[in-house]
């Protein structure tokens, strides 16, 4: 008897605690009347999907919420697949995808291209090779070419570095480069962009692939297909083939807050935020 009483009171304390936490959160939103804009936008938006798009969505949401304090935007991950599923099932307002929709997915949702991302194939700066064709990259990743001398480098084994299954970057790479070929089992697997970069930066014989936005001087990006450099301009022109779109998906024609948010993302202001890491699709001025 006494024991159950104790249990009850403990549970009560917990509940009260939780309630207080809830209150604390509410108190954070500033009092009404402080927002700079005249039109009073309010409501909430759920965004879920590609983890590649997630950091960008978070930046965009932060900027949008700063302009409209009564709007609450929740950004979560889950992967492109989950984003597409979420929006078709109506569990989220906006689904994010970092791959083109498959034919059977098209038509069920409205698509907005909010940015483009390029994938850079990287090698160590000490590696003399700086130009590979798409076929050569595919053969290296399929395990058919295993020595750098076969593609004009020095006599050294190629250490192939790839991302784990399920990663959006790997998905995009597989789709664009590999086609029906499988990435070799012999490839070293690293589970983040940073880890791939470090693995390539610390190994003269390594080759890897990362998002164009994540390039840094410690690695060298290869020119792909007829010497086209991995740059934002070339992605937009469509000459650099290793690129993918970032999509926002909605179930129907967006309305109210969702419309305002997507308009913001495609506005020069939103595209400026895109430009920091990725490639904008609309003018930034």
């Amino acid at each position: 008897m006494r024991r159950s009483l104790l249990f009850l009171s403990l549970a009560l304390v917990l509940c009260v605690g939780l309630l207080m936490v809830g209150c604390g959160k509410k108190a954070e939103t500033p009092a009404p009347g402080t927002q700079p804009q005249a039109e009073k936008l309010s409501g909430s938006i759920q965004i879920a999907g590609s983890t590649s798009v997630q950091p960008l969505s978070e930046e965009l949401a932060k900027a949008f919420m700063a302009k409209h304090p009564d709007v609450k935007i929740n950004v979560s991950g889950g992967g492109s697949g989950a984003g597409i599923k979420g929006v078709t099932e109506g569990t989220v307002d906006i689904g994010a995808s970092s791959r083109e929709l498959k034919p059977e997915e098209k038509g069920k949702v409205k698509e907005f291209v909010i940015a483009k991302d390029g994938i850079a194939v990287i090698v160590n700066p000490k590696n003399p090779v700086d130009n590979l064709t798409m076929d050569q990259i595919r053969d290296i990743y399929a395990g058919k070419i295993t020595n750098w001398k076969e593609v004009g480098g020095k006599d050294a084994p190629i250490t192939v570095v790839t991302r784990e299954e399920g990663s959006g970057t790997r998905g995009a790479f597989t789709e664009i480069v590999m086609g029906k070929e499988k990435i070799t089992d012999k490839a070293v697997v690293q589970n983040s962009t940073g880890a791939v970069r470090t693995a390539v930066a610390s190994n003269e014989n390594a080759i890897g692939y990362i998002s164009l936005g994540a390039l840094s001087p410690e690695v060298k990006a290869l020119k792909v297909v007829d010497g086209v450099e991995a740059t934002k301009d070339n992605v937009l022109k469509g000459t650099y083939k290793l690129s993918r779109p970032f999509l926002y998906l909605t179930k129907e024609e967006p309305k109210e807050v969702v419309k305002a948010y997507i308009d913001f993302v495609l506005s020069p202001e939103g595209q400026k935020i895109v430009e920091k890491e990725y490639i904008p699709v609309k003018p930034t001025k």
């Binding site: 992967g79 084994p157 250490t159 399920g166």
Partner: protein, 299 residues
């Protein structure tokens, strides 16, 4: 008087509830992992899942045999490298070390236990892996296939894990050595045995079960270690054929793919990997308890 008793009861139940929380937590976690992972094992068949050689989660092929082998090989490697050195250290600390050496060594070893595993991983990735790669490409280039010349290898993981498990083995075996009854040691010395003979013929055999328990606990740590291993082992799904082979362990399989795995079979397969790991670790712990238990009883 009554107030005192109630207060006493209150604290008693508070302690009881705290103790209960950890048990409930273990139970809930186990239940959750089993519920999430069991469907895929049922669908694929236990045999196919455990002995399948291919892991292509996006294509719906789930075989974790290479990772089971990977975990075992990496762990054995760590034991081969780590146990002799750790035991020697434990004997030294328990029997031979002068006070001052003890004062430096002991905190050092304790510190080793406190270093986060990602730091071990970073160290491994930037020093051990390149060192092994240097040996592979410079001296063994003609004997090894290209995928074994990257430095990422069973050997790299074993070296890092050997360092990581040494504090556990040292601390527990040292305790076991110190717990050997004084009269045994004195009898041996009185019979004219040297200090070294006494250590080898009397102390170590007497402390055997404690030492074994320490090794099994170290083994549990090695099998369960994730972060440091991911960073040095290469993570490709191939059955290792040499100490220079890269491979993937059960833990790294979960950690690498969990972040992006979509709900459904892929996630379930990762949970199922967790079940296998869980079972292995429970078995190891039971053996450790058994072995250590025997020691307690014999005392």
């Amino acid at each position: 008087m009554l107030g005192r008793r109630i207060r006493e009861r209150f604290y008693e139940s508070l302690l009881f509830i705290s103790a209960l929380i950890s048990v409930v937590a273990v139970f809930m976690i186990a239940l959750f992992v089993f519920l999430e992972g069991y469907p895929i094992i049922q669908k694929e068949g236990l045999g196919n899942f455990l002995l399948g050689r291919e892991w292509r989660p996006l294509a719906g092929i789930f075989g974790i045999f290479p990772m089971i082998v990977g975990s075992i090989v990496v762990t054995l490697g760590a034991l081969v490298l780590g146990v002799p050195v750790s035991l020697a250290t434990a004997v030294f600390l328990a029997e031979f070390a002068p006070k001052r050496a003890n004062m430096i060594l002991r905190p050092g070893i304790e510190l080793l236990a406190g270093i986060p595993s990602v730091i071990y991983g970073l160290f491994g990735m930037t020093t051990v892996v390149p060192a092994i790669r240097f040996i592979e490409t410079r001296y063994l280039a003609h004997k090894l296939p290209p995928q074994m010349q990257s430095g990422y290898s069973v050997l790299a993981a074993a070296i890092i894990l050997a360092i990581m498990i040494s504090p556990t083995i040292i601390a527990i075996s040292e305790d076991a050595l110190r717990a050997v009854p004084r009269h045994l040691k004195e009898a041996s010395l009185a019979l004219g045995a040297t200090h070294w003979q006494t250590v080898v013929k009397v102390l170590i055999p007497t402390a055997r079960s404690g030492i074994l328990a320490s090794i099994i606990l170290g083994m549990g740590r090695a099998i369960g270690e994730t972060m440091a291993v991911i960073m040095v082992v290469g993570n490709n799904v191939l059955i290792p054929t040499s100490i220079f082979s890269p491979c993937r362990t059960l833990t790294s399989n979960i950690a690498i793919e969990a972040a992006y795995a979509a709900e459904g079979p892929h996630m379930q397969a990762l949970f199922a990997t967790g079940i296998v790991l869980f079972v292995i670790i429970i078995i190891l712990n039971l053996i450790a308890l058994r072995v250590a238990g025997r020691e307690v009883m014999s005392r």
